[in-house]
């Protein structure tokens, strides 16, 4: 290649990088705006999976074929098997990844085994340890290919190329890989660039193959005729190393952090997987279809000692097909850069989520939990991680630049990440697999890998030293790193794979069986293992959560997701809860969903830790609290209702008691009344019977005596009749139906006539009446006979309830504001205060024993009569003089006809 061509190659590489940047940028922009739907197609998904084919496969497959015949095919066979059998495993993996918002393989294992922070960190460390040489491998490939195309000797690699590639990739990855922290906002730009690179890789390989088969050889038959004699004579086919390699590559397509990233994390749609299940094997087949021809060509056409790993590039160069060489260079460059980009994205996510975030959380527990922007911390740590990982890769590359074949490093990494496989498969299919088992298995497998493969691979430079490699530590040959327990003579790769996976699986099983899974582990196990049976939703009852305030949750969401997405998320929640404005209620749904969303950013373990910091670690879930609160509210409502009812009942009971008391009182009064009536009836009857007996049985009775006794009998009979009349009147008063015939009368005239009649009666006690002022000319509407009955009752009371030698009754009347008012005052003992109202009641006994003469019905009857006539009968308050009862009779005065007409013109007379 001419110097101009080399410069052109350099420019082309830079231009290609610029193109990648442009594509990634456009992809990001369009994806954000929702256009470029093809970015989310299954084709792009499948192409992105081809990040599997790194420069190791791009260049190394031919080298492998040249060295070991068909062995290279194993690297394609393993993934092909996995994808063809996608229904068995990948589908479940992707489903879990989507439902649980898994961010990385570390997150998968951590989340599955009780959201363990320790497991996440361990997986991250293993992944970084395994990826570092792998990245170094890519840098080495780019450097070598550059030196090949630049015509520089390969025995002294210029690490500067690798450095600048590392820097460029770091810039690209930081720019497009750490725009956001949420795994669910996929890296569309990066994926678009990766897909482009996948196409470039494939086109380059197909171009080289076509060129070799149809350009250098006339036809395939001629090519295969030139196969060297010992080529493909290896009896290794389907031997232990083959099987091991197939297993390792099958494990790698799942367990490599970058593969997990593109297959699970970047998956847009599960159906894409179905397409990829045939499209990706097709891609692999196309990539490897020309490997043997190229290898054969290299072996036959290239000079002795040429690096078979570089045949892909050196053959076009040797044939002076510069454009093809440039395309191949760009293809190899693509293979290397896409691997570096995706690996560093995946690894940086793991580092930030499983190492930095837990540490930050632990530190921030001492501070207030709402301070600090975790999102910024996560992004910064991811950027720093990308830089660091690439720096490690570069340093490794620098340190081992002159060492073994490329393929060897790739395989070491494969064995390393294969240590995840037992935990992943156990986690997806064995419900009893628990955190302890996973930890033990991973640690054991990792240490075995380090001891038997990774460290010895450094050769003389390994920290173990050559002596240990040869004789075992402390001279214990059973512990020789590459011949554990006397398994000598095995291929180191097979040996290491065998031991590490054996230890791993054994410890996983033993650890898992050594104790019961904890509740959260069990819950996660169910979610993972039974993901297709709704396991993700089964037992949706986290073990923590005390009342979290929506504010706290919102602040947390803001810290992780950023202000805008957090607000969108909470708004969506509020809408779902039917809240138009403000924050949603902190229901279990909200907390659970938020945790899943956060898990998409920081991994399940950290998300759980963060949410737990706010929502607490108590056994009662918010939902339960809410239901408890509901229950409490219901009980309170019920109890309030009961209280109301009880109060009502109490009121009713009190009313009943009062009514009962009243009834009892009435009953007592009725008894008293009957007793009174009985007495009142018996008294005249006693006299009548006694005199009747005298008259009947006394023969010597003179006629005067007889006449007198008959007169007494007659009087007593009249008395009885009056009594019966009273009782009848009482019935009428009781029912408010006293018959009255109203007339316009002068009440004073009635009063005076009554007084005249009383004075005419001679009693045992002299009665003196004092007539005072009169309301002259008063006119009232009344029944004169009934009014007279009232006056008689009052006057007779005045005489009867009197203990004085001379009864004095004072009578007067007046016109008080249109009301006729007459008062009748006696000089008796008056009415005791406690009897003032009782004397008017129907069944009242007389208020003194002395009032034995009469049923005591008079006042009740009189008041009833007055009410009937629109008037009133009251007992005046006792005045200061002490003695004497004063009754007042009032009646509304008749307004004269003329006055009425004057006042109310319209009123008919």
């Amino acid at each position: 290649m001419t110097p101009q061509a080399v410069e052109f190659a350099l420019v082309a590489a830079l231009a290609y990088v610029a193109l990648l940047f442009g594509v990634a940028y456009l992809g990001d922009q369009r994806a954000r705006r929702g256009s470029f739907a093809w970015l989310r197609s299954s084709l792009v998904y499948t192409l992105s999976i081809s990040v599997y084919c790194t420069s190791w496969t791009f260049y190394g497959a031919v080298g492998s074929a040249a060295r070991g015949g068909l062995e290279f095919a194993t690297i394609y066979l393993g993934p092909t098997l996995v994808f063809v059998g996608w229904w068995l495993f990948l589908r479940k993996l992707v489903r879990i990844g989507r439902t649980q918002r898994i961010t990385s393989i570390a997150d998968l294992i951590s989340s599955r085994f009780g959201k363990s922070e320790a497991l996440g960190a361990l997986v991250t460390i293993i992944a970084v340890a395994a990826a570092t040489p792998y990245i170094a491998l890519q840098l080495k490939a780019v450097t070598t290919s550059y030196q090949v195309i630049a015509g520089l000797p390969l025995d002294n690699l210029d690490v500067r190329v690798g450095f600048w590639v590392a820097v460029g990739m770091a810039a690209f990855t930081i720019l497009f890989g750490t725009r956001n922290v949420d795994a669910n906002e996929r890296h569309h730009g990066v994926v678009a660039a990766i897909a482009l690179e996948a196409l470039v890789k494939l086109v380059a390989l197909l171009a080289v193959g076509g060129f070799v088969v149809f350009g250098l050889w006339d036809n395939p038959a001629a090519l295969f005729a030139a196969v060297p004699p010992d080529f493909l004579a290896s009896d290794e086919v389907f031997g232990p190393r083959w099987i091991t390699l197939i297993v390792l590559s099958a494990a790698a397509i799942v367990c490599l952090p970058r593969q997990f990233q593109v297959i699970v994390v970047e998956n847009e749609n599960e159906r894409h997987l179905a397409t990829a299940s045939w499209l990706f094997p097709t891609y692999l087949l196309l990539s490897c279809v020309f490997i043997l021809p190229v290898a054969i060509s290299g072996m036959t056409l290239m000079p002795e000692g040429a690096d078979p790993d570089m045949f892909v590039l050196t053959i076009p160069l040797a044939a002076e097909a510069d454009w093809l060489a440039l395309l191949v260079f760009l293809g190899g460059f693509s293979s290397a850069t896409s691997m570096i980009i995706v690996s560093s994205i995946a690894l940086s996510t793991m580092v930030s989520n499983h190492i930095v975030a837990p540490l930050a959380l632990r530190l921030s527990r001492r501070r207030t939990r709402t301070s600090g922007d975790v999102r910024r911390l996560l992004l910064t740590s991811r950027r720093a991680a990308i830089g660091t990982i690439l720096l490690f890769g570069f340093l490794y590359f620098q340190g081992s630049a002159q060492s073994d074949a490329l393929a060897a490093i790739g395989l070491i990494a494969f064995v390393g990440v294969a240590q995840f496989l037992p935990s992943v498969i156990g986690g997806l299919y064995w419900p009893l697999a628990n955190k302890r088992g996973a930890l033990w298995g991973l640690c054991g497998g990792f240490l075995t890998w380090m001891y038997t493969l990774a460290v010895p691979s450094l050769g003389e430079a390994s920290p173990l030293g050559a002596a240990v490699l040869r004789d075992g530590p402390w001279g214990l040959t059973a512990l020789r790193p590459q011949a554990l327990l006397g398994l000598d003579g095995w291929d180191p790769l097979v040996h290491a794979t065998f031991w590490s996976l054996l230890v791993n699986v054994l410890l996983l099983v033993l650890g898992s069986l050594s104790r019961e899974p904890k509740p959260l582990e069990w819950l996660q196990a169910t979610r993972f293992v039974d993901v297709f049976r709704g396991g993700a939703d089964a037992g949706e009852r986290p073990q923590f959560q005390r009342p979290a305030t929506s504010e706290d949750l919102f602040i947390l969401a803001q810290r992780i997701l950023g202000a805008e997405p957090a607000r969108d998320l909470f708004d969506a929640f509020a809408r779902r809860q039917g809240i138009a404005k403000g924050l949603p209620r902190p229901t279990e749904d909200l907390v659970g969903d938020l945790e899943r969303r956060l898990a998409g950013s920081v991994g399940a373990a950290s998300a759980r830790a963060m949410v737990s910091q706010i929502a607490g670690r108590e056994v009662i879930s918010i939902d339960e609290l809410v239901s408890i609160a509901d229950e409490t509210a219901r009980i309170m409502r019920t109890s309030q209702a009961l209280e109301r009812k009880s109060a009502e009942l109490e009121v009713t009971a009190r009313r009943l008691r009062e009514a009962n008391d009243q009834l009892r009182e009435l009953d007592r009064q009725k008894d008293d009344f009957l007793s009174q009536v009985s007495h009142e009836v018996r008294t005249p009857m006693t006299a009548i019977r006694s005199f009747a007996e005298i008259l009947r049985y006394t023969e010597t009775l003179d006629s005067d005596q007889a006449r007198r006794f008959v007169a007494i009998i007659h009087d007593e009979c009249i008395r009885l009749t009056r009594l019966l009349d009273d009782i009848l009147d009482l019935r009428v008063v009781e029912q408010g139906e006293i018959p009255v015939s109203m007339d316009t009368i002068d009440p004073d005239a009635v009063l005076d006539r009554t007084l005249d009649a009383c004075e005419g009666l001679s009693g045992e006690v002299p009665v003196r009446t004092v007539r005072r002022a009169r309301a002259t000319g008063a006119r009232v509407r009344a029944d004169p006979d009934r009014l007279r009955q009232v006056f008689i009752n009052l006057l007779s009371n005045a005489v009867r309830h009197n203990d004085k030698a001379v009864v004095t009754i004072t009578v007067d009347s007046r016109d008080r504001d249109g009301v006729y008012e007459a008062t009748i005052t006696d000089n008796g003992p008056g009415v005791p205060d406690d009897a003032r109202e009782r004397i008017f009641s129907l069944f009242s006994a007389s208020w003194t024993r002395a009032a034995g003469k009469g049923a005591g019905l008079g006042l009740a009857i009189s008041r009833g009569i007055m009410h009937r006539m629109g008037g009133e009968l009251t007992l005046e308050p006792a005045d200061g003089d002490g003695d004497g009862a004063r009754f007042r009779v009032t009646l509304p005065m008749e307004v004269s006809a003329r006055q009425t007409r004057a006042e109310m013109p319209g009123l008919p007379v």
């Binding site: 009985s678 006299a687 007494i712 007593e716 024993r849």
Partner: protein, 124 residues
């Protein structure tokens, strides 16, 4: 010498009939119109009467009160008492017996009953 007899009764017609039927049996009769009056007449200087006929419903002091005072008074407590009541209830009869009345007659009475009881308690 005829037995002295005090009748305490406020109802004039009943008193008149009692006086008539007992006087012709040969008793020496005094009357009282209320309770106070009855007690006054019981403490007659000539000594207590041989029999007291006492109405329950008397003005000023009722018959039960008069009876209580009679039984509390050493000078009077041996006086036989015949109670008359218009309230012929068992309660009144029981009360009268407990308080030491010697006989109890409900109104309206038959003249024969009164005379028989009076004779039983104090012959004329």
């Amino acid at each position: 010498m005829p037995t002295r007899l005090l009748i305490a009764e406020d109802e004039p017609s009943i008193l008149e009939s009692l006086v008539f039927i007992l006087a012709r049996e040969g008793y020496d009769i005094a009357t009282a119109r209320d309770g106070e009056d009855a007690l006054d007449r019981l403490r007659d200087p000539k000594g207590p009467p041989g029999l007291l006929i006492l109405d329950v419903m008397l003005p000023r002091l009722d018959g039960f009160e008069v009876l209580r005072r009679v039984r509390d008074d050493p000078a009077l407590k041996r006086v036989p008492v015949l109670m008359l009541t218009a309230k012929g209830q068992a309660r009144d009869r029981q009360m009268a017996e407990q308080m030491g009345a010697d006989a109890f007659i409900a109104k309206p009475f038959s003249n024969q009953d009164v005379v028989r009881q009076a004779r039983r308690l104090a012959a004329p």
